[in-house]
């Protein structure tokens, strides 16, 4: 078994929140605003609540097998072969997630800041950090998350607060958006935007068991939901829903319109800094999780030799789409709309199977929880 080290609940919460909210820097807000209009800010809360419900189901599964992570549970419930296949699905998903996020990041930074820099250089620099994060392991990633958490939160708060003069409260009306049914259906499906919390199920032994798992998951989902909803609300008020649905990154636009006087204006440098940091945490964590799942599934003790091949795979996924449009249309739309079926429904299916087959974890290990 690979040794991943331990960390506390605070680190776990910071890490999960960052992985969950990084999407607000990207095109995510635009998509929600476009599909649900003025109802988008509470549509995401519906997603959040759905995700919490699904997470609790996942918690039921984890509680049934105390002291075991999701990979071991797959093996135990579905047998070694199917279990490994299920784990591989997660490995592939997280690599795909890391690669897509990376590409989205590169496209945006090219559009906004470094138009003349070759994308391969930007990618290489980013992957260097990802590789070194994966090299130091989960403890290093969690500490990185802690240190970058505060600047990122302060940065988001600063952007949202400094843009107050541009908010038009009436822009959130009509509050119903495109109708309840549309809001609900999108809200339920978009709970995929909160699926990253599943990573906790794979590192459950590093965060001291199921109780902390539940607590961490719920706190992270709650706070992430509030942050994402607040950002969408602010974007709606600042840009109205027609324009909000057109911006590539609403948060970036918010940072851009800030103008107090000639010397205090356009604070996108803050945005740039926190955006890169958040992306590093997210891609680094998901990249590491895919490595970790692979190692756990196939009993590889050392994850370090696998870093280079996995980084190559991520690089490939990142370079595969032709343009930003393709990235957002295909990858991101897929990841943030349908990942629910992979990340939540597979474990729930396994839970049902465990109920039917009557499989349960050993009671003796309960103490660990």
């Amino acid at each position: 078994m690979m040794k991943e080290g331990n960390f506390g609940i605070r680190e776990a919460v910071y890490l999960t929140i960052l992985v969950l909210i990084t999407k607000i820097f990207y095109t995510s807000i635009r998509v929600v605003v476009k599909t649900t209009g003025t109802a988008s800010w509470y549509s995401t809360l519906i997603s959040c609540v759905t995700s919490i419900v699904l997470f609790l189901l996942l918690y039921t599964l984890m509680k049934r097998f105390p002291g075991k992570d999701l990979v071991q549970i797959f093996d135990k419930v579905t047998g070694k072969i199917i279990g490994k296949i299920l784990s591989l699905v997660f490995v592939l998903y997280f690599i795909y997630y890391a690669g897509s996020s990376l590409r989205e990041f590169v496209e945006m930074i090219k559009a906004y800041n470094l138009p003349y820099t070759p994308p391969s250089l930007i990618l290489a620099a980013f992957i260097t950090v990802i590789v070194s994060l994966a090299y130091v392991g989960l403890e290093g990633i969690s500490r990185f998350a802690v240190v970058s958490f505060y600047p990122i939160m302060v940065g988001i708060l600063a952007i949202l607060l400094l843009a107050v003069p541009y908010y038009n409260f009436n822009a959130i009306f009509p509050i119903g958006g495109y109708g309840i049914s549309k809001t609900l259906s999108v809200g339920l499906l978009r709970s995929s935007a909160y699926t990253e919390v599943v990573i906790l199920a794979f590192i459950i032994n590093s965060i001291h068991g199921v109780k902390i798992f539940k607590k961490t998951g719920l706190i992270s989902l709650g706070i992430a939901g509030i942050i994402i909803s607040a950002t969408i609300l602010c974007s709606l008020m600042a840009f109205d829903y027609p324009q909000g649905g057109e911006n590539v990154s609403d948060l970036f636009q918010l940072a851009r319109i800030i103008y107090f006087n000639r010397f205090f204006q356009r604070i996108e440098s803050i945005f740039l800094f926190i955006w890169i940091m958040a992306s590093l945490v997210t891609v680094g964590a998901t990249f590491y999780i895919s490595l970790s799942i692979f190692c756990k599934a196939f009993n590889v003790e050392q994850h370090r030799p696998l870093i280079l091949p996995f980084s190559f795979l991520t690089f490939m996924v990142a370079l595969e789409p032709k343009s930003l449009t393709e990235v957002t249309q295909r990858n991101i739309a897929f990841v943030r709309t349908y990942s629910i079926f992979i990340l939540y429904l597979i474990p729930i299916f396994v839970l049902l199977l465990a109920f039917i087959l009557g499989k349960k974890g050993a009671e003796t290990k309960h103490a660990k929880g």
């Binding site: 800041n113 470094l114 620099a125 290093g140 500490r143 240190v147 000639r262 890169i276």
Partner: protein, 592 residues
């Protein structure tokens, strides 16, 4: 005629060829280490237990000793046994110190009470002659009347108890330790017939006095610094900690130079695991020479390849004392005016001893200034390059115009300008340290003049850049730890490069890389970023310095045996009534 001939010969010598006499030049021959060590294996005197290395030289065995070797084998003076024969012991010491080639070793023979043959041995210059003359030699040679028993057996015990007037004297029966005592400046006394020596404390070599700190100056606070004498340094610390549990353990390091190294900790407060680990690492060093704390640090630090130091270096006894009282371990090396403190975290390097001596608002302000200084001196030139090269739109327009105007006549790209100026600045700093004292101060002014005024006038660099470099330099000087300041200087060039290559993005990537590397290092088992990451319990002495009466706990990461340093209410007087007290009433203000 003769003179003429000489002149002719002289003239002839100008036009004729004369072969030069070949000059023989010196070279260092290679000595096969294997052969020499095999040769040495034959000589029993050189086989010791690792304290001395075979030096590849075969020492001649004196004829007298060869004879004795054949006759009395049981009394042979060796590294492990003291002979009962005075001549053999003198020969042993002479041989160990390569006398008579080596003129430093002094063996003074004399007779005690006209009966007992004796000698003292010491190293010239290392000892205090007054002590030897008045309290060893005079005491031994003038007190004949004390030796009344007429006993012919060993008299050293009697001498130790009744005759010697030195403050420290102890018996030693291991010749290897005797040699070490002589090397340390002590005087050994031997009396014929005994199988041990007496060692007298007579250290008296020249040393520097206790002076003011050169590297860690403070405004409010003690003005004493360590010097090169280990004993003085320990005394300076003891002045601050009058606690019988303050324990000093000595370890010899360096096979050839056998430097004395002291490990200080407070018994019952410091976690013994830290002390054991420090001792384990120091004892395990197998190297010829450890010349100071800086070398020792490189041998025992956790991460030799990290950018930042993982041990705190201080020249201040008060700072050492405060860390010892927090449950840390101090390491001192003879000959080095600095102390190493372990384990530490990054924040300890940002603290200054002054912080604790000042009221908390001032201490906190200074800490923030220092954090700001680190940020400035690491990032400012890199940010300047990134801003002017990639992100002009982020600069307010008026400022941008000012920068552009200043740069208009400069022919170089910004990054070349920055590197040029930074290198020049590094040159001034390095030259400022190496240059002889008197002109050292002047150099700063000359350097500033040349680099600043002249470079701007010649349109080599823009004036804005001069401001950037100057502020960066100032920031660097505000960092309280010299090693950290050096690592910041290194990191600065890294950020200039990244800023020029990838702008803000590159700088953020660089920051992330440095952070990741910092998260991965430990100082004697303590993660470098604690107590921030990993998060341990709240600290009252991190960035915001709480009032001293509010700092109830020692740093969590050292796992001290007593975590609490004071009670919750340490200012008991706040709960008591003053002796002269009164309840203020409204009538008190009447008539005012």
């Amino acid at each position: 005629m003769r003179k003429k001939k000489t002149l002719f010969q002289n003239l002839l010598s100008y036009i004729t060829y004369k072969e030069k006499e070949p000059i023989k030049e010196f070279y260092i021959p290679e000595i096969n280490e294997k052969e020499s060590s095999q040769d040495q294996g034959n000589i029993p005197d050189h086989t010791n237990k690792g304290h001395e290395r075979n030096r590849g030289i075969i020492k001649p065995v004196p004829v007298a000793e060869m004879r004795k070797e054949k006759t009395a084998g049981q009394n042979q003076a060796s590294d492990n046994t003291v002979s009962t024969n005075i001549q053999q012991n003198m020969d042993y010491i002479n041989q160990k110190f390569n006398a008579p080639d080596n003129k430093d070793i002094i063996i003074r023979q004399f007779t005690i009470a006209k009966r007992y043959k004796a000698f003292i041995a010491y190293l010239d210059g290392m000892v205090d002659r007054v002590t030897i003359n008045h309290f060893i030699l005079a005491a031994l040679m003038e007190n004949d009347d004390k030796f009344t028993n007429g006993d012919e057996s060993c008299q050293l015990e009697f001498i130790l108890l009744n005759v010697l007037q030195t403050n420290q004297a102890k018996k030693l029966d291991t010749p290897r330790d005797v040699i070490y005592e002589i090397l340390s400046g002590n005087t050994v006394l031997y009396v014929d017939g005994c199988d041990y020596y007496l060692v007298n404390e007579t250290k008296g070599y020249d040393k520097r006095g206790v002076e003011t700190p050169q590297v860690e100056g403070v405004v409010l606070g003690s003005q004493e610094a360590f010097n090169e004498t280990l004993r003085t340094n320990i005394t300076l610390i003891r002045k601050y900690i009058k606690n019988s549990n303050l324990t000093t353990e000595f370890i010899r390091v360096g096979i050839e130079n056998q430097q004395l190294c002291a490990v200080l900790s407070i018994n019952g407060l410091t976690n013994p695991a830290i002390v054991d680990e420090v001792k384990r690492r120091i004892k395990s060093i197998k190297s010829d020479a450890i010349l100071g704390d800086g070398m020792l640090e490189q041998f025992i630090e956790d991460n030799p390849f990290s950018l930042v130091p993982t041990m705190l270096t201080t020249e201040r006894p008060d700072r050492t004392a405060s860390h010892l009282l927090e449950g840390k371990v101090a390491i001192l090396v003879e000959g080095a005016p600095f102390c190493k403190i372990v384990p530490i975290s990054l924040v300890s390097l940002i603290h200054s001893p002054e912080d604790a001596f000042m009221r908390w608002p001032y201490g906190t302000l200074l800490r923030f200034v220092r954090v700001f200084a680190i940020a400035i001196s690491t990032l400012l030139p890199g940010l300047y390059v990134a801003l002017t090269k990639f992100h002009q739109e982020m600069v307010p327009t008026d400022l941008l115009i000012a920068i552009a105007k200043a740069k208009e006549n400069v022919p170089f790209p910004t990054v070349v300008e920055v590197i040029l100026m930074e290198l020049s600045f590094e040159l001034i700093r390095e030259a400022g340290i190496r240059i002889p004292g008197i002109i050292g101060n002047t150099l700063g002014i000359i350097g500033a003049l040349i680099l600043g005024q002249a470079a701007v006038q010649a349109n080599i660099v823009s004036p804005v850049l001069i401001i950037v470099v100057a502020v960066t330099g100032l920031g660097n000087f505000a960092i309280p730890n010299y090693s950290l300041a050096l690592s910041v200087r290194l990191a600065r060039f890294f950020f200039i490069f990244l800023g020029a290559l990838l702008g803000f993005y590159g700088i953020t990537i660089g920051l992330a890389l440095i952070w990741v590397s910092l998260f991965n290092i430990k100082s004697f088992g303590v993660p470098y970023f604690s107590p921030v990451a990993p998060k341990t319990s709240r600290s009252a002495d991190l960035f915001i310095r709480y009032p001293v009466w509010n700092q109830e706990y020692r740093p969590d990461y050292v796992n001290a045996l007593r975590k609490k340093r004071q009670t919750k209410i340490s200012r008991k007087w706040t709960q008591q009534n003053p002796e002269n007290n009164y309840d203020r009433e409204e009538s008190d203000d009447e008539g005012r």
